[in-house]
Amino acid sequence: MKQVPAAGYPVPEVASHNSSGQLYVPVFTGTSREELDTLLGRYPTKMAALLPALWIVQRERGWVSDDAMAEVADVLELTPAYVKGVVTFYTMYHQHPVGKYFIQVCTTSPCGICGADDVVRAFLQHTRSSDLGVTSADGRYTVIEVECLGACGFPTPVMINEEFIESVTPGKVPDLLARLP
């Protein structure tokens, strides 16, 4: 049963089973739904709230699953295929679960000529990650190379989840990792 509240879009039932029979708890309830309502007021179309809505999903769940895409589609009156098309265009939405700490190291040319490759190697070594994009066995870390983070004067910039760290050198890597809870 779908209700149509004042917000003007159908709200999914609190939890439902997806086509594989797994339980899915919707994201857009409570404060997340209020947040989305506020966002919808900023744009003349519902579709324009798609990127912000996907950001809310990723913040709440850590990644954007097919079920979450279906929910977003439902809420914004789009099709799941359309939402997936948008999700796959942008690099920052995780389409798979990632480690507790998602580490992005900039290796584009300006950082590349200042030693970014050594920073990548240091992160792989100290997180015991077997390769780029492969989450470490303990589930804590996923290290990737990222294209230009836009802080080229502070080589090498690194993002650990939402935290932006400037001027990382291989020698600083163990301390950076050690202070993560």
Partner: protein, 437 residues
């Protein structure tokens, strides 16, 4: 100022004066530094008069294309009955460029004020500031500044008590260089894949949500309040060479240089003094070899070209390149140009939206061939192939990402051919071929 370095006496800090000053970030701090006087003045002026001041000042787009800002604004016709929009392009992603980041994280209210003035001038009730998703710090400060400005009545239905509506929203991107292309940014803002649109129609006719839209870069908009306050003539006089280039420009300097950072100088400043004096010259024991002065998309300069350049829109063109975004990438003699250029090509291959065949295929093949040469498996024919691919990638696509990939490759091969040739001449047999033999 040359943040994170102290102000150099030859700089002219209009936008960068408060970089590194955390107190300038808050509304109170900004007001005590003269903030929002420009907006106050603007709201008492006729819309066309504001546009005319900006036109007369000679201000040109600081994002890369250098289009005259006042002229762009004049394409918008207030009172045509349609909703108008202002977009602020804060998707700064051009490799080598990080000036807008400094504007947003140190002086967020300068941008809010500039946006508000522009929005009023073009008759836009709503402004979207599109900031790339990776910029968590600028996002934090811009969101905070917009909230403060709303709470203080600077923004909203009754902006500064004048009865005029100025709404402003920060929109977070999600990781796509191409969304810095103006029409791709609008597609993205509408909740679509960031594929650039065919022009015309231009944004002033049909922009975001199909409505008349003006889109300006962060640095351009942040310069507007001071132009209004101090006058067009004051701004126009800041030009050491060509009168078509006026005011100051922020340059972000990176790569193999002693003092990387963001510097601000007047148009026409000598590039040689800039590199050796302001930026401290090369690292100890090294020599500069090449400069990419306007972000990765512009032609590579030899040092002879760079040292003869006067830093303005025309000055860079006269020395075989472009001012672009002002992202100066300095490359020294310890670097392999082949490696640098191959990495730039990989960037563009990664960022191609893949709409146009020439770009999708061209960026990918260019990268493959360059990496083959880099790894010692190239042939002389590869160089001709690269130039041929590059020529086919130029001027044949919806947007200029394709051209941007070809530019450093073609200029790099032409100016540093010997580095490519020596790698090719010393080439090793490809391991796969060796195994087959």
């Amino acid at each position: 100022m040359g943040y994170p370095h102290p102000l150099h006496e030859r700089e002219t800090p209009l936008l960068s004066r408060y970089f590194g000053d955390p107190e300038a970030r808050s509304l109170d701090g900004w007001k005590s530094r003269g903030g929002y006087k420009g907006l106050e003045q603007a709201l008492g002026m006729a819309q066309a008069d504001i546009t005319n001041v900006v036109k007369d000042s000679g201000l040109r787009g600081r994002g890369g294309a250098g289009f005259p800002t006042g002229l762009k604004w004049s394409f918008m016709k207030p009172g045509d009955g349609k909703p108008h929009y202002l977009c602020c392009n804060a998707d700064e992603s051009e490799p080598g460029t990080f000036k807008d980041r400094e504007v947003m994280r140190w002086t967020p209210h300068a941008l809010v004020e500039g946006c508000a003035i522009a929005a009023y001038a073009i008759g836009a009730e709503t402004t979207y500031i599109y900031i790339r998703g990776e910029f968590t710090e600028p996002l934090l400060w811009m969101n905070r500044a917009v909230e403060e400005a709303y709470a203080d009545g600077i923004l909203g239905a009754n902006a500064m008590g004048t009865g005029k509506r100025i709404d402003m929203h920060v929109h977070k991107g999600a990781g796509a260089y191409i969304c810095g292309e103006e029409t791709a940014l609008m597609e993205s803002l509408e909740g679509r894949r960031g594929n650039p649109r065919i022009k015309p129609p231009f944004p002033a006719v049909s922009g975001v949500f199909g409505m008349p839209t003006t889109i300006n870069n962060v640095e351009t908009l942040a310069a507007v309040p001071q132009i209004l306050l101090q006058g067009a003539d004051w701004y126009k006089k800041m030009s050491l060479s060509n009168p078509k280039s006026t005011g100051t420009k922020l340059y972000s300097v990176c790569g193999n240089v002693k003092k990387p950072g963001t510097y601000e100088v007047v148009m026409g400043f000598p590039f040689k003094d800039f590199l050796y004096d302001l930026c401290g010259g090369p690292l100890d024991g090294r020599k500069f070899k090449a400069v990419i002065p306007g972000g990765a998309s512009v032609p590579i300069q030899t040092m002879a070209e760079a040292e003869a350049t006067l830093m303005d829109y025309e000055g860079f063109v006269a020395q075989g390149t472009m001012l672009g975004s002002g992202g100066v990438i300095v490359i020294d003699d310890a670097q392999s140009m082949v490696r640098v250029i191959a990495r730039i090509a990989r960037f563009f291959a990664h960022e191609s939206c893949a709409q146009c065949t020439q770009c999708r295929e061209g960026t990918a093949w260019t990268t493959k061939i360059l990496e083959r040469i880099r790894d010692g498996h190239g042939t002389m024919e590869d160089l001709d192939t690269l130039i041929e691919i590059g020529e086919n990638m130029t001027g044949t696509t919806i947007c200029v990402l394709s051209d941007s990939c070809a530019v450093p490759v073609i200029s790099g091969i032409k100016k540093f051919r010997s580095e490519f040739e020596s790698l090719i001449q010393g080439r090793r047999v490809h391991p796969v071929l060796e195994a087959v033999a």
